[in-house]
Amino acid sequence: MSTASLPRGRYRRKDVVVAVCFLAPATAVFVMFGFYPLVRTVWLSVAASDIFGNVTGFVGLDRYADFFADPALRRVLLVTLAFVLATVLPTLLIGLFLALVLQARVPGIGFFRTLMATPFAFSAAAAAVVFDIFYSPSVGLFNGLLDLAGLPVAQWLTDPATALPSLALVSVWRDLGYAMLVFSAGLQAIPESLFEAARTDGAGRWTLLRRIVLPLLSPTMFFLLVVSTISSLQTFGEINILTGGGPDGATTTLVYGLYQSAFAFGASDYGLASVQAVVLLVLVMVITIIQFRFLQRKVFYG
């Protein structure tokens, strides 16, 4: 007796009932806190609303036009892009470097790998709080070191030139362990026989890296690129704790702009906040769809 061979379009009544019951709890959560709020966000972005989020009128795409036309509003996009670049590229490069170095055949390498992953134990808030102490202008460790080296001290978080890189450093440090673990998993999936064959052919370290490791690691790299970009776009805790979006908007990313428009200083500008939420949503969806496309192609032609 086989279940799989039911004629198309005919279902066992009992199975359908059980399926509905089993899917109901997750569906209820997704509808209430996933799909419905998404529709409401889009609606709030084209409507006028009061401080309770009740819609009082319709403004259409005006806010989107303003958002993209007004340099002061549009700036959050540039800050977001700068922040993504300043976090994702260093995380990937350093993560890859650490993973490669940790392939070394020395005793206790597993111990090194585990310890190297410990920054992962820090939440955004925990890392931000610790780095806030490092960045302290008067008594912080970073300025202490600069001073010892005879260099001028920096106003890490309050100087518009250094605020964004200082924030990025916190994120990079926190994400390093993760990138390293993922790269290590990718490296270990490369069959040892490939290396042996190449070595027998007289390939040196660089050739091995360039011709074997990097090409075979490219799916891992792509995965990390997508995941890190999305998580970088969503960064909130570090900004909230370290700079509050300042100085003068220098670290106000899309997510932080959304928060400030809707919730900070009693602003309650749900319209502008929702425009930023929709832009964020579109960015994340586009990146995810590109990832799916790429993975499909890899499956079909890879």
Binding site: T3, R12, D15, A19, L23, P25, A26, V29, F30, F33, G34, F35, Y36, P37, L38, T41, L44, F52, G53, L98, V101, L102, A104, V106, P107, G108, F112, T114, L115, M116, A117, F120, A121, F122, A124, A125, A126, A127, A128, V129, I133, F134, V139, L141, D147, Y178, V182, A185, P219, L233, F236, G237, N240, I241, L258, A262, F263, A277, L281, V284
Partner: protein, 268 residues
């Protein structure tokens, strides 16, 4: 010789990467003077355990700790239940619009929580749930990733065992509970660890929906501590040490689970 050089290089690299962790632990045992003098101290002048008592006096960190643990455990339990049930339906049951429903479940992974955070806040305000546990827990009780993961795991389950159980007259719930769940422990463990870490580290949502120190979670407590005790980094670092202990235990005890959870989809 070469090995010694490699080890030395690795040790130097490790020292740089985990320096903030070292400084957090060392600083949690330093005095306020150690942390604020010049040149900066790298070692505590003594073991000042009172920092830990001090930070608990300064802010209700113990209560916030409890809040974080309660919220994270509730979310983990919820995600396990909803994901196992949904994953079961998508693997073993035939019903109309199955593919479409599965696609819809997966699509929730594409929605960044920040994009729906304003209406979710308004919903909680409408329901009068601001500053309560349900507000912290309800939105996270289901997971597209969790459903996907459980389905992937159930797909590897031999179909014949399922057929045989059916022939024996074993109902869906009994099959699920007494056969499938015990055999799915690795996947359940990975999902539990992954969800616990995610929830424990939440920041944006708890910041919005809590407004009294006794309802705030540990992460918000750390941020508050940072702003009220600015002049006492020793207390702040003691708070951070307490906050990261559960995470450190997890990453050492469940490293395999974490890597598996994080790399789902990364390596073919």
């Amino acid at each position: 010789m070469r090995k010694a050089a490699t080890l030395a290089g690795l040790t130097a690299l490790l020292a740089v990467v985990i320096f903030p962790l070292y400084y957090t632990v060392a600083g949690s045992l330093m005095t306020q003077e150690d942390l604020t003098r010049f040149p900066p101290a790298l070692f505590p002048s003594g073991l000042n355990w009172d920092n830990f008592a001090g930070v608990l006096r300064a802010v209700p960190l113990a209560r916030q700790y409890l809040n974080s643990i309660v919220v994270s455990l509730c979310v983990v339990a919820g995600i396990l239940v909803t994901s196992v049930l949904a994953g079961y339906a998508f693997t073993f049951l035939e019903f109309p619009f199955r593919r479409f429903a599965f696609g819809l479940f997966l699509s929730t992974m594409m929605i960044p929580a920040e994009a729906s955070i304003i209406p979710n806040y308004l919903t909680m305000a409408d329901w009068g749930l601001v500053n309560t546990f349900p507000a912290l827990i309800l939105p996270f009780l289901a997971s597209g990733f969790g459903t996907f993961m459980m389905r992937q795991f159930f797909m590897t389950f031999p179909r014949e065992v399922y057929e045989a159980a059916k022939v024996e007259g074993c109902g869906h719930l009994r099959f699920l509970w007494s056969i499938l769940v015990p055999l799915s422990r690795p996947a359940l463990g990975t999902l539990a660890v992954y969800s616990f870490i995610g929830t424990y580290n939440h920041y944006f949502w708890p910041l919005l929906v809590t407004n009294t120190p006794s309802m705030q979670t540990l992460q918000i407590g750390l941020a508050q501590l940072n702003s009220v005790e600015e002049r006492a980094p020793n207390l702040i670092l003691a708070g951070v040490v307490m906050a990261i202990i559960p995470m450190l235990v997890m990453i050492y005890a469940f490293q395999r689970h974490i890597v598996r959870g994080l790399t789902t989809g990364a390596v073919k």
